[in-house]
Symmetry: C2
Subunit: 253 residues, 2 copies
């Protein structure tokens, strides 16, 4: 059976506020899940400072290495919103006003309200397109395989709604989980054998200490859903062989 | 007045589970704040897959570029815990058992309970040291300027307690915040002027839409605390000039 090829994305999080610890990122996990629904695997994330050289280096590496490169943050109207300029410089193109974006801003703020600062929000790398935002109207910007999204989670999510079905994705990654209530070190040798016997899946062991119970969630991932249940069954057998309680699915929070 | 030189760190988050969206990272913000308390600036974060080549590339780049390189995740006993091996390969050294770590494990599990899988947790890159964990006993591993921490937040935090005062830090970054209740685009031009007039500080504008109110938190950062209040005062003046309400500090959640 031929497998669909994997389609990958990288993400550049532009955020002094995240590197300073001021803001807890909420976008990586959301984007990762959204990409998975679209059949795209998130391969690498880089969180960089609000610095054109740092942004440019990360964007150029990830747009080259992955099928798609996303950025979050830095597309607002203030002096520290430098994503469009940094990406344009990285791509070697000029920055221009996007006609439709200007019209949207003119409609929203009125002709007099359209200050130079607000016009900044209509700037795109030359030849770039808008990412329509069905939820708030505020668009993102795309140019080639680079997709520039807002950093505010609610607005970023709206922009992703506008991108549904746009990316060329493969089959989404499937997964199944068994939770074993024993220290993961007791299962480790057997798990290694199971992984070696099943190179077609990827087995992850995620230990937890929760409500006084020790255990590990054992996650089996594959693009082909049919490959998962036999491996889960082997893991359950291995758990029973050492007398450990186990259950289907994730441990409860 | 001479400024202390900045001391920097990079972080490599080793985590298929974060790239798949399964787990929400909770370590970046915590480590960022902890580093700041130690006078170290977090310069870049890379989240990479559980893959030796990806880990090695990120570690080699960030340990070269920053004064310190931290990793989180992948130091447990299972087959997918490959951080020590990947870092050793990146550094060009062998992997060995650490005597003291073996003793700790022997004490914890007993001679018979010390299986090959559990012995994995005593492996370090040749010449590496343990990071003592005053909270749980489970140690991290350091080698040169690379510090390998657990991925489970509670254990990572314990290891950081063991590292208090160990890094050579500069003065910690100071910051002050004014919240202005107006769309940030109304303040943008004036803010740019204030930033240009005060290159000694860094001004960040973090817009919010919360409980029906629109505004922006304006954060002024500097290693020298004395430089912050005059800039905050100028921002407040600028807000009052456009008739916008403002308050000291962050907007309330």
């Amino acid at each position: 059976m031929s497998k669909p090829q994997s389609v990958t994305a990288g993400l550049v999080v532009i955020g002094d506020e995240i590197l300073s610890g001021r803001t807890q990122d909420a976008n990586v996990a959301y984007l990762a899940k959204w990409l998975n629904e679209e059949g795209v695997i998130l391969k690498e994330v880089r969180i960089v400072a609000d610095n054109p050289a740092a942004i440019g280096e990360a964007v150029n590496t990830l747009r080259d290495r992955c099928d798609y490169c996303f950025t979050t943050g830095g597309i607002g109207p203030t002096h520290d919103d430098i994503t469009v300029d940094a990406v344009a410089a990285a791509l070697g193109v000029a920055v221009m006003y996007h006609d439709e974006a200007l019209q949207m801003l003119r409609k929203y703020y009125g002709e007099e309200g359209l200050t130079e600062a607000r016009k900044r929000m209509a700037r795109v790398p030359e030849g770039g397109d808008l990412i329509k935002n069905p939820m708030s109207g505020a668009p993102g910007v795309s140019k080639g395989n680079v997709y520039m999204l807002a950093g505010i989670p609610g607005i970023m999510r709206g922009m992703l709604e506008g991108l549904r079905g746009v990316l060329a994705g493969a089959a989404p990654m499937q997964s199944g989980t068994v939770t074993v209530f024993s220290p993961e070190s007791e299962m480790a040798e057997r798990l290694e054998q199971i992984q070696s016997a099943h190179p077609e899946v990827s087995i992850g062991s995620y230990p937890f200490f929760r409500q006084g119970r020790i255990g590990a969630a054992l996650l089996v991932r594959s693009i082909d859903a049919a490959e998962i249940p036999p491996v889960l069954a082997e893991i359950k057998e291995a758990a029973q062989a050492i007398g450990a309680e186990c259950m289907d699915g994730e441990p409860q929070e």
